[in-house]
């Protein structure tokens, strides 16, 4: 028990320590940004520090937090819906080749329609509000999750299925004990992608449908040609995405995929 706790603590420590590498990457991006600022001037591209200050100002004056919360709530709701729908449909299709054959062309059609078109349709059907944003996210991000789940089911190790069957597992327990973990390995990258899509589409839908939130604030910044504020809103939205991704999805994944950590060579691990 103590050993398990220590192991968890060690992994948490490694995870936090790896934050320095992430910070170094961000610092590199900020340096490029700064170079752009110095080349083109403050009106076209405000300095990164200036943007950070603007973001901090937005956060402290109160109203920004509510708008950010609206967007995050919409994005996370949409993400939860698409994760649920995509996983259930994908697993079902993975186990049923006939369904999969029918679903593939439908998927291509849905992926081919740009999200903007869905926003327009959703605005006509549902008006401007939470519904429009959620539906747009659902339609644009579900196929990603669906494909991940299908991949997980069809590429699972059938040898393990036979092994479980030899030891007396019926179809249900072969799924819950053996297949789920293999599906999860393919599902998590798809979920990360879907979460990013959910945030992007949420902001876009808000901007086009004028439904408040970060998108609404961006629309106002554009009307006032306030580049610093626009960039501040963008960085706030990205920060929110990073917070959700690293606070929610990645820890869940790390917990399920501990064995991959054991397999990774030393240089990759740290």
């Amino acid at each position: 028990m103590l050993w398990v706790g220590l192991d968890r603590l060690a992994r948490l420590g490694r995870f936090l320590w790896s934050g320095w590498a992430g910070l170094a990457g961000l610092a590199l991006l900020a340096a490029l940004w700064q170079a752009g600022h110095e080349a083109y001037g403050a009106f076209i591209l405000p300095a990164p520090l200036e943007t950070l200050a603007a973001a901090a100002r937005l956060l402290t004056d109160g109203s920004a937090r509510a708008m950010l919360a609206t967007t995050v709530e919409r994005a996370v709701t949409g993400f939860a819906l698409c994760a649920l729908a995509g996983t259930v449909a994908g697993v079902a299709a993975g186990y049923s080749p006939a369904t999969l054959r029918i679903a593939r062309p439908i998927l291509t059609v849905i992926l081919g329609v740009p999200p903007i078109a869905w926003i327009v349709l959703a605005m006509i059907w549902f008006g401007t509000g939470d519904g429009t944003v959620a539906i747009t996210i659902l339609i644009s991000a579900t196929p990603i999750v669906f494909v991940g789940a299908v991949e997980g089911v069809v590429t699972r190790d059938r040898g393990l299925d036979a092994m479980a069957k030899a030891f007396g597992a019926g179809p249900v327990r072969r799924f819950t004990h053996v297949a789920v973990r293999q599906i999860a390995a393919h599902l998590f990258p798809a979920l990360l992608l879907a979460l990013g899509t959910a945030f992007k589409v949420a902001v876009m839908a808000e901007l086009l449908a004028n439904a408040g939130g970060v998108g609404g604030a961006l629309a106002r910044a554009r009307a006032m040609l306030d580049v610093a504020e626009a960039l501040a809103w963008v960085s706030l939205a990205v920060a929110a995405l990073i917070l959700v991704e690293y606070g929610l999805i990645r820890p869940a994944r790390a917990e399920l995929e501990r064995w991959r950590d054991a397999a990774a060579p030393w240089g990759v691990k740290r």
Binding site: L160, A162, M163, A166, F167, R181, A262
Partner: protein, 249 residues
């Protein structure tokens, strides 16, 4: 009374008949080796006997309480530690969690695994260690029948011998009966009480040879002598090393 009895088993893959008229029986405590050239359908017989596949015709009578299986590749779950893999059949049997630890440790010890190996994931173990885990997983349920489906084909000669000794020892200790599929005649002679030879085209069992003495008590010279005798002077084994790699099992 035999523990396992196959009568008139026939099977086909995609309309191509691979097995026909297979009948065999295994008595309690008996280790039966089933040999035959590759592609003759040996593994399919084991899979049908273990219930992994439904035969096209014929009957399977299983009169044992619990069976276990060791496959050619270890088939370990990569996300579970060695202990988790060994305990998997106990989880399927809904054995309470607190009882599992002791059973897992005992089975691991019988397969020659040490306590420090049990926390490792399969990727951290060598090929031989993985097969040891697979054997421990089969022993943990205390089966009275074990299917071995060419379990040591992928291992090198020295490791193979160690694993064979392990199985002989375990079978003596636990008194399980076994159907041991192999295409290595040496292995069959070392490990079994009786050798069945499958027809090269899967048309029935071509014949059987009883081996004198008990597995584990035969010395190497005797084993080798018997192998030479089988291969050179016994018509039953004439096709044993025929290989047609285009035929899929």
């Amino acid at each position: 009374m035999s523990l396992l009895e196959l009568s008139g088993i026939g099977h086909a893959f995609f309309g191509r008949t691979v097995l026909e008229g297979i009948s065999l029986a295994v008595a309690p405590g008996e280790i039966v080796a089933l040999v035959g050239p590759s592609g003759s359908g040996k593994s399919t017989i084991a899979h049908i006997a273990a219930g992994l596949e439904e035969p096209r015709d014929g009957q399977v009578a299983r009169r044992y309480a619990r069976h276990a299986m060791v496959f050619q590749d270890p088939r370990l779950m990569p996300w579970a530690t060695a202990a988790g893999n060994i305990g998997f059949p106990l989880r399927l049997a809904r054995r309470p969690r607190r009882d599992r630890g002791a059973s897992v440790l005992a089975a691991a010890a019988r397969a020659g695994l040490e306590a420090e190996d049990l926390g490792k994931y399969p990727v951290e173990l060598s090929g031989g260690m993985r097969q040891r885990v697979a054997i421990a997983r089969a022993l943990v349920v205390e089966p009275d029948f074990v299917y071995f489906d060419e379990p040591f084909t992928a291992l090198d000669v020295a490791l193979k011998r160690r694993m064979q000794d392990l199985v002989i020892e375990a079978a003596r200790g636990a008194r399980f009966a076994a159907l041991f599929i192999t295409h290595d005649l040496m292995e069959a002679i070392r490990i079994s009480h009786r050798i069945l030879v499958l027809d090269p085209y899967g048309r029935g069992i071509a014949g059987e040879r009883w081996l004198p003495g008990q597995p584990g008590e035969r010395d190497d010279a005797e084993t080798f002598e018997r192998r030479q005798q089988f291969l050179e002077r016994d018509a039953l084994f004439a096709h044993i090393d025929d290989i047609d790699e285009r035929v899929r099992p």
